[in-house]
Symmetry: C2
Subunit: 399 residues, 2 copies
């Protein structure tokens, strides 16, 4: 029996691929520090479950396809913090940022058309775009340059008559690269010149460190008609299991088209929407606290990484990931070594090999993504285990 070409083309999640090996290591008694997935240990604010527990209804009914008004209004107020004006009709509440991205691609991209996206990129973009029959054209970036890509020289030569969208993940997963508002403006300017849409995945918006300001493509009203924002409660509020995302745009025609897809799938979880409305009403001090926490974790990991001779990594500006070039030829082989052979005091570590985050074959073989989602002590120990692991691995290889 035959399956569709698209599904055969799709990958199994490269982030989850080494899980069985980790489970085996853990079953044998080894403690494994999981720096491989973006599942933070930060507590979900109580208001989420409190609002759900207080919900009284005899019938758990369909919500409106665009979302419940209480959540929509909380989102509107949240965006006002950054001077961005959205109305209810500018948003569709989605099943996580994942569904928002899928809807955007289905609405904008015909089979065979192209989307520009800086590589390395969040690997599931592959699957979302393949569902729509589209193709990622990577803007290749490098660890040596801090994975920057927002220049005319890097972007413009890749635009063809098949290009429909420039996609930007900022703050970046897996790189931690944060676009400045000037860089966002340049990208919009290029998009306008070539009549493209900009899909701005800003689910890590507040996680911009040091002297960086929070930036958003929504802060550029002069380009609002071609900007589509992807948002989510998962990371900002440490509520990954809530599956509440947002598709936002001031382009009324786009929203109307996307609403056809939203109506067909009826609506998003009523209770998760009720809980999430509370999240968006949290005081801004919440963002400050969380940002401080992640920034501290980043500093610890970066410091430990810099102790490894031959490592290449610029201090990342945001999100809770960093992509690091290691002094090993094949990080997947190294990861297997860490899980199956290595231990230090009964402990080992796991990261995401970066190859799956690249569209260009052969790139990323010596790079890893670290998610700094654990507390500082655990992050320091995890990073240390990478260093100790490299020493042991090189010894084994006779280097």
């Amino acid at each position: 029996m035959k399956f569709s070409e698209r599904v055969q083309e799709m990958q199994f999640s490269p982030i989850r691929r080494f899980n069985p090996m980790a489970i085996k290591a853990e079953e044998s008694g080894k403690k494994v520090y999981h720096l491989n997935i973006g599942q933070p240990d930060v507590e979900t604010p109580d208001c989420f479950m409190d609002a759900i527990r207080a919900y009284q209804a005899e019938v758990i009914k369909y919500a409106e396809s665009g979302g419940i008004t209480d959540l929509q209004d909380a989102v509107i107020d949240y965006y006002k913090l950054y001077g961005i004006d959205f109305e209810r009709s500018d948003m569709i509440v989605t099943n996580g940022g994942s569904e928002a991205l899928t809807m955007a691609f289905l609405t904008l991209v015909n089979p065979g058309e192209e989307v520009l996206l800086a590589e390395p990129f969040y690997t599931n973009y592959h699957t979302f775009l393949t569902s729509a029959g589209g193709k990622i054209v990577p803007i290749t970036t490098k660890a040596e340059d801090g994975f920057s890509y927002a220049t005319r020289e890097q972007i413009e030569p890749l635009i063809t008559d098949k290009t429909r969208v420039i996609c930007c993940i900022s703050p970046g997963n897996p790189t931690g690269n944060v676009l400045t508002l000037d860089e966002m403006r340049l990208i919009c300017e290029i998009a306008k010149e070539h009549d493209l849409f900009v899909i701005a995945d800003e689910v890590y918006r507040e996680f911009a460190y040091d002297d960086r300001e929070v930036t958003s493509f929504g802060m550029l009203p002069e380009y609002a008609d071609r900007v589509i924002i992807i948002d989510s409660v998962s990371k900002r509020f440490s509520a990954c299991g809530a599956r509440i995302g947002l598709l936002l745009s001031k382009n009324k025609e786009f929203m109307s088209m996307a609403m056809k897809i939203a109506q067909a799938r009826l609506c998003v979880s009523t209770v998760d929407q009720i809980g999430s409305a509370g999240l968006f009403k949290l005081p801004t001090s919440y963002y400050d606290e969380v940002k401080k926490e992640y920034c501290g974790r980043r500093d610890v990991v970066y410091e430990e990484m810099m102790k490894i001779p031959g490592v290449v990594c610029q201090k990342p500006g945001g999100s809770f990931y960093m992509t690091v070039k290691l002094p090993v030829e094949n990080v997947e082989d190294f990861l297997v070594f860490l899980l199956e052979e290595f231990e230090d005091n009964g402990e080992s570590v796991m990261f995401a090999p970066a190859e799956g985050f690249y569209a260009t074959p052969g790139l990323g073989k010596d790079e890893i993504r670290i998610a700094y989602v654990l507390n500082q002590a655990d992050m320091r120990r995890g990073a240390e285990l990478i260093r100790l692991g490299i020493e042991a691995y090189n010894k084994k290889l006779g280097k």
Copy 2:
């Protein structure tokens, strides 16, 4: 700026299209009986919110992509009631039946390929299949025949070298048609002869009335490798806002392919899964009670419909819909009349015009779908208002 061809091809929900008119009527003080959408007034069992309220977790984490094991195990036990053996790896928990259908189409259908589906059908199939670039080839059925379609003569001539799937909604939305196990066997036999998959949408499984037994394509183990079952908590447990569906199959390769899509969108709402695990553990007496309730509602509506001269409708065997041919030329025009002009003691009624449930242009213009989702007294009054409305409408037209 251009949008994809697929999204331009998609319809706005024909079920929700007349909502603004109804809202206007209600704002003017008219009471409108909503027989137009499948949102039951039956109470969601308390165990749903009870399980969620009892859930204690510091972090609302990502669930496994295939679903939480507590829910999976409850589903396994539920299917055992009907002698159907599923394992955890045979299922993916989805964002409602909607996502399960979308995943199935994305996995099986290439652009330009065909899916057989009896018309009238649940209208959102249009959008789900269009997302995958596929095409519905309708098996046209008639009110006069009770919308039956499970014969070799009706199905086989429609099969081409582009056909990939036979889709069956049983009990049927919008027709109420229930397939017997013999009919299911025949459909599987045809599918086998032509190497097709069967997608069985059985979200109304227990709602089979009179002397009809509960049937499922899962009861035919000899065809298990080509059967894909779509399930949902929405209707069975009156929990439409819970957005918990299921994609089930014993075909390991199919499940493995579909899992690529499931992994990319990460997972389904954690709290909704926790609540739904409780639902699947309800005693079978729950199904008996709910079935009795809906069966009583059906009887009332059918009785009232039969009072209308010229109406065509066979008593439907299941689900909570019936499709009725009215003695009016254009039911959309009639619906506008009901909402804008007609009233009886300050009351009017709303149904879903059936044209949107047909793929063949021109069909269904004189048919409506009634959802018997309200209590018996309201259903009787709603049906009566249709009858009184027809009298007034014909008078207006001078008939």
